[in-house]
């Protein structure tokens, strides 16, 4: 069975001013799999995630060295950032639904990318909400304020919003950290369903979550990768002592 590489990261070093947030990171991210990034706070896993859709560009004084190849093309040299972000969607830690109706939240992406036909938009909104397992809950109130939804629903709406621009990769930055257990389970179920069609990279603080949803796990510490491999190996057969200590909850 051949596994296609979606992202190919070589010698990536990211610094904020004099502070090196990531040091010499090398990694392959495999297509249609879930890759979990774990590690204690401040280890660089979120910084790493944001280099994949260049959201780090917004940070002043940031320095990025090395190469990040997406489908073989370096996204930091001559790659259009708009196109990149369309292909590599992102769900944030705190749900950031726009203060608009549910419908307009989902239709936002397609609209900015030039789709005007009401019929097509209706179709995209429905499909995206279905993919995010939210359709049945909101189909009768698409014109209601999105902020009236519950926390879990808002986060799924954010996911639907990403689905609507038909991405190839979905990045998730601790997507369930603000949610109750029931909503968390719903999101995790979704992640498992979605990986058939999407490559997913998820940052999480929750060890059990990483074990439940991911195929591969990468353990970061102080801006470096300590260990990476199949989730099974990392959790049940770690090679590095520090990985074992972190997994078993001895630090972090």
């Amino acid at each position: 069975m051949s596994e296609a590489v979606k992202f190919n990261i070589r010698d990536l070093t990211v610094s904020y001013g004099n502070f090196k947030a990531l040091h010499n990171v090398n990694m392959d991210i495999i297509e249609n799999k879930v890759t979990a990034l774990i590690g204690p706070s401040g280890c660089g896993k979120s910084t790493f995630l944001k280099t994949l859709n260049r959201m780090n560009d917004l940070v002043p004084n940031i320095g990025i060295e090395g190469r990040v190849l997406y489908d073989g093309k370096d996204i930091y040299s001559g790659y259009d950032v708009i196109t990149l972000r369309k292909q590599v969607g992102m769900v944030f830690q705190a749900s950031n639904v726009f203060p608009m109706s549910i419908y307009n939240n989902v239709a936002y992406g397609p609209r900015i990318h030039g789709i005007k036909s009401k019929k097509r938009l209706d179709h995209i909104v429905e499909e995206s909400l279905k993919k995010a397992a939210l359709w049945d809950e909101v189909k009768d109130r698409l014109n209601k304020d999105a902020l009236s939804l519950s926390g879990g629903q808002q986060q799924r709406l954010c996911l639907a919003r990403v689905m609507a621009v038909e991405p190839d990769v979905v990045l998730m930055d601790e997507p369930t950290s603000a949610l109750d257990p029931v909503s968390t389970v719903q999101i995790e179920d979704l992640i498992r369903e979605l990986k058939e069609h999407y490559t997913i990279v998820i940052v999480t603080h929750n060890m059990q979550q990483a074990a439940r949803v991911s195929d591969f796990t990468v353990f970061f510490l102080n801006g470096e990768i300590v260990e990476m491999g199949s989730t099974e190996d990392i959790f049940y057969n770690p090679k590095d002592k520090r990985t074992e200590e972190y997994i078993t909850g001895r630090f972090g």
């Binding site: 708009i82 992102m90 944030f92 950031n96 726009f98 608009m100």
Partner: protein, 275 residues
């Protein structure tokens, strides 16, 4: 202990002044606005006669509206553009310091200096004469700081996460500003515009020699035009009619009260953005 009473007293005096002024005006003038010699609310709908000694203030209200609309046409786009630049595009650039300094400076310049400048620059140097256009251009510079300061505040209050959410979907910066940031900041921006309207309506000194004092209905951009504030000033100054001065003052005060309430409401409100 005595300090406590002194502070209480000072506060009561401050409030007392406000109540006294509003009360005095409403008691003495409201009745005439509601009903003058010729009938109910006739004052608002009849044109002034004999320099305002007789008749109402209909043409003056119309002139005031022309002035407001014209001024907003100039200052809202520029003010909004400047606000967006300052809060979304400028970042750490050094030009921002100069821009912010200029805005603070503009806010501190007295209206009579604006009047003087408008007279020298718009009326004479650009040969626009004394009329609606010169007056409105002068006012639009004067109220720019009001619009910019409230708009910048409103735009900065929009959560960063909205911008991130939009950019992460592949939206351009301008799309993000236009479709997410500005709609979210709209109530605050409108509050700024409403406050600016308050300043426009209340202004006198910047207008007397840039916009003129003709109490007839303005029929062109270069028409000399008397507005509510200049009308009240002249009625009082020339001793033309005190009861009509009272009534005009009441109209002004009621407008200002409404504007105050509206801007407070807007600042507190969060709206749903829909297309």
């Amino acid at each position: 202990m005595i300090k406590k009473y002194l502070i209480w007293m000072a506060t009561i005096i401050t409030i007392g002044i406000l109540v006294a002024i509003l009360g005095y005006m409403l008691v003495n003038g409201l009745k005439f606005v509601v009903e003058d010699e010729d009938g109910i609310i006739n004052f608002l709908f009849q044109a002034p006669k004999k320099a305002g000694k007789e008749g109402g203030i209909s043409t003056i209200i119309a002139n005031t509206i022309f002035m407001i609309v014209l001024t907003l046409i100039f200052c809202v786009p520029i003010g909004l553009g400047a606000s967006i630049y300052i809060s979304e595009y400028a970042g750490q650039r050094r030009s921002v310091t100069a821009i912010k300094f200029s805005i603070d400076t503009l806010a501190g310049i007295p209206s009579i200096i604006f009047g003087l400048f408008g007279f020298i620059f718009f009326s004479n140097y650009l040969k626009l004469g004394v009329g609606l256009l010169s007056g409105s251009l002068t006012l639009s510079i004067m109220v720019l700081p009001t619009i910019i300061k409230t708009s910048v505040e409103a735009i900065n209050a929009v959560p960063i996460s909205y911008r991130e959410g939009s950019l992460a979907l592949g939206a351009t910066k301008w799309d993000t500003v236009k479709r997410v940031v500005l709609p979210s900041a709209l109530p605050g921006i409108l509050a700024g515009v409403v406050l600016a309207i308050g300043r426009i309506i209340g202004e006198t000194a910047a207008l007397t020699f840039t916009m003129g004092t003709d109490y007839r209905l303005a029929d062109s951009l270069s028409s000399s035009a008397r507005v509510l504030s200049t009308h009240l000033y002249l009625l009082t100054k020339e001793g033309i009619s005190f009861e009509r001065a009272f009534a005009t003052a009441n109209v002004l005060i009621i407008i200002i009260l409404i504007i105050n309430m509206a801007s407070n409401r807007l600042i507190k409100r969060r709206t749903i953005v829909d297309e």
